[in-house]
């Protein structure tokens, strides 16, 4: 009987260790300029967030980060794309709060990692490296209004859970561009502004 319980305990610990090994957590700290758009690109929902900031806690360096999420309907179901990481500073250009551009080839950004996860009923999520390519966005401030925001979010998108603390000042903006070759434009959900201290933690189970 003792042997049974020892084996059970060891098995439980092993399974727990495997579970921990497959879970990934990445935290981004952002302060300074940022721009974000949430668009429908030919049926795919795409959220693109570019900001000055860094990976890690505490933040020792000042980089530019890019975080993207996409929900891509397919013939057999849906694919969740989540990508995040450091990109060259020159890829994200801003001119105060009025105008910003993003132009990055993620295949050339070694610090940017993207994952594609497909949901299969009965089997759960199957994840693999996601697509790479060019992402271009141009933001132009509109006169619709200005916002001060403090927010705590816990969002689930497929196998990724994101905890976000936002502290931002921003203006409404119009965003347009292309996402891996698919054009989009958005006049209602884009923003351009400043992060006072925004922290994004992405947890993935696969």
């Amino acid at each position: 009987m003792i042997r049974f319980w020892v084996l059970t305990l060891l098995s439980t610990l092993l399974l727990a260790a495997q579970g921990m090994a497959s879970a990934q957590s990445t935290t981004f700290h952002t302060s300074g300029e940022f721009a974000e758009t949430f668009s429908n690109a030919n049926g795919s929902l795409v959220d693109i967030f570019a900001a000055r900031g860094c990976i890690g806690d505490p933040c020792f360096t000042n980089n530019t980060i890019l975080v993207i999420f996409a929900f891509v309907p397919t013939a057999n179901g849906v694919v969740f794309l989540d990508g995040a990481g450091v990109i060259p500073d020159s890829a994200f250009q801003t001119n105060g709060p009025n105008h910003a551009t993003l132009n990055v080839d993620t295949s050339q950004a070694s610090g940017f990692i993207i994952t594609a996860c497909t949901f299969t009923p009965g089997s759960g999520f199957t994840c693999q490296p996601g697509p790479t390519g060019v992402i271009q966005v141009e933001w132009r401030r509109t006169r619709a209004g200005s916002t001060t925001l403090v927010e705590e979010d816990h969002t689930t998108r497929g196998p990724a859970a994101t905890n976000t603390h936002k502290n931002q000042d921003f203006f409404t903006a119009a965003g347009s561009g292309s996402f891996f070759g698919t054009s989009f434009s958005d006049s209602s959900r884009s923003k351009i502004g400043t992060n006072k201290e925004t922290v994004i933690t992405i947890n993935k189970q696969n």
Binding site: F38, T147, E151, D153
Partner: protein
């Protein structure tokens, strides 16, 4: 990332009206039940529509609708419209969040407020009360893209209006489609349905 800026454009889910000094008028609303939002692009701008259910202060429920638009005009001016107020609860069917509908003609709703403001090229603002009003019909269905538990505090200023929003709610991404004041629209994937635990908005008109 889904606290959409334009959800703040014209949120009117509320209840208690507090009238301040003559130069500024503030209305405060509360929501503690189902809500739905949609935002869609139109030529030169966007439209935002939100509907909420909340307490009426006497043990019952109220349903609140707000909508607004902001459109850049070719001559450099911009037109901002807004409307908000209590609507008949039968107009908002949210018995199940798997399918939520709104069907209301705001021109037939007593007390519903609407304002149109023109932003000139030099950013001066001129507002006229009484429009737009009319028929709004929307279907929402969750799409499974995301679900969020959100607590946010937001202050949004547009023209003569400042809105202070305190949200505590659960929300799911949704597809929305319907008609807004005579024009059909679709909002595939970026709409929201959910339930407010305890949300409040204060709308102040500064002139």
């Amino acid at each position: 990332m889904k606290r959409f800026l334009l959800s703040a454009l014209l949120i009117g889910f509320g209840l208690v009206a507090v009238h301040g000094p003559a130069a500024a008028q503030t209305e405060t609303f509360h929501a503690r039940d189902a809500f739905a939002q949609t935002h869609f692009d139109v030529s030169g701008g966007e439209v935002d529509i939100s509907v909420f259910r909340g307490p009426d202060g006497s043990g019952g429920t109220n349903t609140f609708l707000s909508y607004g638009s902001f459109v850049e005009n070719p001559d450099g001016s911009a037109t901002s419209t807004s409307g908000f107020g209590v609507i008949p609860s039968s107009a908002f069917d949210a018995q199940t969040l798997q399918h939520v509908t709104l069907n209301v003609d705001t021109s037939q709703v007593a007390g519903f407020r609407a304002t149109t403001c023109i932003f000139s090229v030099t950013f001066t603002v001129t507002c006229t009360d009484g429009s737009p009003l009319g028929l709004i019909q929307i279907d929402w269905q969750p799409n499974g893209a995301s679900s969020t538990k959100s607590v946010q505090h937001l202050s949004f200023t547009s023209g003569p209006f400042t809105r202070h929003l305190d949200f505590d709610q659960d929300e799911s991404s949704a597809d929305a489609s319907g008609s807004y004041l005579g024009s059909s629209f679709t909002d595939p994937g970026r709409a929201l349905v959910g339930k407010a635990r305890d949300s409040t908005v204060s709308i102040t008109r500064n002139n």
